[in-house]
Amino acid sequence: MKTIRPLLNLISLLCIDYHPKRFLGRIMTFWTLFSNLLIILVIELLRKWVIAQLSILIALSAITIIFSLPKMIYKTTIGTELGFIIISILFLVLGLLQNSDGASNSDLRLILSWIGVGTNIAIVLFHIIVRIIEFFRLRKEKKREEENEKNDWRYKIQPIITKLMPVEATLHLFNMKVSTTPIFPSANHFMSECR
């Protein structure tokens, strides 16, 4: 495994979107690659069986949603897959209606076609909006962390300095209490103590 370890960094870029620290996140990386390969195989090899094609596509999207559901961290994936399921169902209805004649049928097909366009645009817009929101959220989080770090440094080094310096001097250093007594005992006081 050690010989392969450097090569695993190659996959890191793929994993980042899928939370690599989680087991499910790493499964999602493999599943995304594998399911896309399956989708292409289904589209190319089952060309004559449209209903079978669309059913498998719906099933694959459903499996992806099931993988994404725990902890609700893959909200974008869920949204996208739901969009694809809607389009697949639309195609299924369009496929069933395409051989039947009638003005009402053609109107319905046209409406379904426009719904398909709307869903496609919604998926693209959804991704753009999520990216923008994520960008601002991460920026805000980063700023908050930086502020916390700035505030925390005094508390982190306080115990170390306390060991090295008298308590009053430490408090004075950290502006915790304005010292009214001299920080260090005077020389006379020290001499009297020694006596």
Partner: protein, 197 residues
């Protein structure tokens, strides 16, 4: 979705046309090299699965007169049997990126001063190449890659230098694809600390 054999009317067809990025508009320069023949139609006769006759329903794939594999009868969405015809633009851009990467790496080694600003910039470019660009190129058109590979292996076109070169490139890409799939399986069971890029 546009490849599914359903008559989904003009609005959706137009939407698919404008939202499909294809090969990012990148040129397939391999097909324009002189003495390279780009004969698609002749390839279909080599394979039992393929047929030039559109009316034949017994075959797995249906091809048109030019040798393109038809997926949607209503909108004539077809793909070539030759790998480079479907994916040549991306292969070209990948080759260009690799050449640039090697060039930058060689130039960065020429600078011996470690504190040089130019060397630092060049090294950061090399790192960004290693970390993201090559993988992004491969993954961004992943479905196109899979489709081109499947069609290439379904017909195995070997007529002329262009198609032979195409098969060679397809084999290289298959190895890369299998390698990445195996790595992604290994990653599932082996957690390595991954730093955000």
């Amino acid at each position: 979705m546009k490849l599914i054999n359903v008559n989904y009317l003009t609005p959706l067809a137009a939407c698919d046309k404008y939202t499909d990025l294809g090969q990012f508009g990148l040129p397939n320069i391999f097909s324009s090299i002189p003495r390279f023949s780009n004969s698609q139609a002749s390839t279909s006769s080599n394979n039992n699965k393929a047929t030039d006759d559109n009316s034949s329903d017994s075959s797995l794939f249906i091809t048109n007169a030019e040798g393109g594999v038809i997926f949607n009868d209503y909108f004539d969405h077809s793909f070539s049997q030759v790998f480079l015809d479907n994916y040549g633009g991306i292969v070209f851009s990948t080759c260009t990126t690799l050449m640039l990467y090697l060039l930058v790496k060689v130039v960065s080694k020429c600078f011996k001063d470690e504190n040089s600003k130019i060397k630092k910039i060049l090294l950061s470019i090399v790192h960004s190449f290693e970390r993201s660009i090559i993988m992004a190129l491969l993954v961004s058109r992943y479905m196109y890659l899979c489709s081109a590979l499947i069609l290439n292996y379904a017909f195995i076109p070997l007529n002329g230098t262009y198609q032979q070169l195409s098969l060679a490139v397809a084999i290289i890409y298959t190895i890369v694809l299998v390698f990445i799939l195996v790595l992604s399986i290994l990653v599932v069971f082996y957690h390595v600390k991954i730093e955000p890029r």
